[in-house]
Subunit: 221 residues, 2 copies
DNA sequence: ATGTATTTGTGAACATAGAAACAAAGTTCA
DNA sequence: TGAACTTTGTTTCTATGTTCACAAATACAT
């Protein structure tokens, strides 16, 4: 296991892909250098936070100058991609799953959805956005054979746990869970939950209970 | 603006919808009482954290007994729903947007997607999962007329900012942004970003750099 | 060359979140 | 009733994350 970046704060790690994407944008628009202030404007993260984030990797910038876009880009490419490609499978080719398959991941990074699984006979043995769809029955076998390490779970919540159990058996390392179910997995497996209903509800809760700037100050438009 | 829950930590606020959903599950399975330990098992949140979260709202439980499911449920319904319904519009009826329209939000809570917008003539003037699709040209007018307060943004990133500007003009209060774009909005508007590519990339980063329990300790099964 | 402008990298202060641990209160059962 | 058990609510501690503020280093203009 690579130890060089072991103690980088999780909050920082979550921002890295974001920085990377905006650096790509800057690069393709021909920009040679960028300051933490400019980057801050683009990604909406405090400039001090950006400098702090970058500093975990050493001194990447130059005082009085800023950061060299190409250098940063190369550096983060190495850091994020970590040489080898991670194989991802998508489980459940419904609307949400299809959205993922059409999303062009590999364009900006080395992440690539290798295979998809579903039970629908109309989808099995077709290709959606360049990705072959297998039958769910073959999940265990194919995941092992292909050495899939990450699964995106976009299945009905009723089957989320049983399918997760099979993924665990098939030696998966991480799951991106879009179902509302809270999955039981051994502690060696990492799960990120993205719960669409919760996201919407909590946004609404914030709107109602946490007045934003202009509402707190006396003037109300 | 309701001030009673003003200083509840954001982390707590984000967990409320989750608690609410699991309480609904418990209720429909006939359970009368529940302890923080049981709830912890179900939602995968430390029981002390759950008790702490609940305590912000006062003493909702009984020592030696736990929490009354019905009472909690009623309490959270009031807290989350805040009486009046929040009107939500979905902008962009692609795969991701369609996933939202078919997702049965109103089943578990009062959140309801009222209208959708798209530019595709095949979709305009149809209904998808019970929600009418309008043409994007009518966005400004309809949003104002209907008093829409929240928008779910599932459009191509190229048009994200211009559409956001129109939403701001139309007096929207909050945006759930699924595009990779970081939107410019006045500070009075709250935006939650959900960036699918970033989620996937950061999961992979964590897998590679943050060994989980069983990998750190010597035994590996 | 010299002086002024920038802009980084980081020490220190502050803010937020999570978890352990336990007294106090209530429950349960004989 | 009273003793043993349960479980909350909160105090305290620790960890994590963010921001300020500024010295040090470099760039740039004249």
């Amino acid at each position: 296991m690579t130890n060089d970046a072991m103690k980088i704060p999780q909050a920082t790690a979550k921002r890295l892909p974001l920085y990377y994407r905006f650096l790509l944008n800057l690069h393709s628009s021909g920009k040679q250098r960028v300051s933490s202030a400019e980057l801050s404007e683009a990604v909406k993260v405090d400039s001090a936070t950006i400098r702090r984030d970058f500093s975990y990797f050493g001194a990447l910038g130059k005082k009085g100058y800023g950061y060299n876009v190409n250098y940063l880009l190369t550096f983060f490419r190495k850091t994020l991609d970590q040489d080898e490609l991670t194989k991802v499978a998508l489980i459940g080719v419904g609307n949400l799953g299809t959205a993922f398959l059409n999303y062009n991941f590999s364009k900006n990074n080395n992440t690539k959805i290798e295979i998809a699984f579903d039970v629908d006979p109309n989808k099995v043995n077709t290709k959606i956005g360049d990705v072959a769809v297998y039958h769910m029955d073959d999940l265990d076998k194919v995941v092992v054979e292909e050495g899939i390490q990450v699964a995106i779970l976009t299945v009905p919540s009723a089957v989320a746990q049983p399918i997760t159990d099979r993924l665990v058996q098939a030696n998966i390392k991480g799951i991106l869970n879009f179902t509302p179910a809270r999955l039981n997995v051994p502690p060696s497996i990492r799960i990120h939950h993205i719960d669409l209903a919760v996201e919407l509800q909590s946004l609404i809760y914030f709107l109602k209970h946490y007045p934003t700037d202009t509402e707190t100050t006396e003037s109300v438009e």
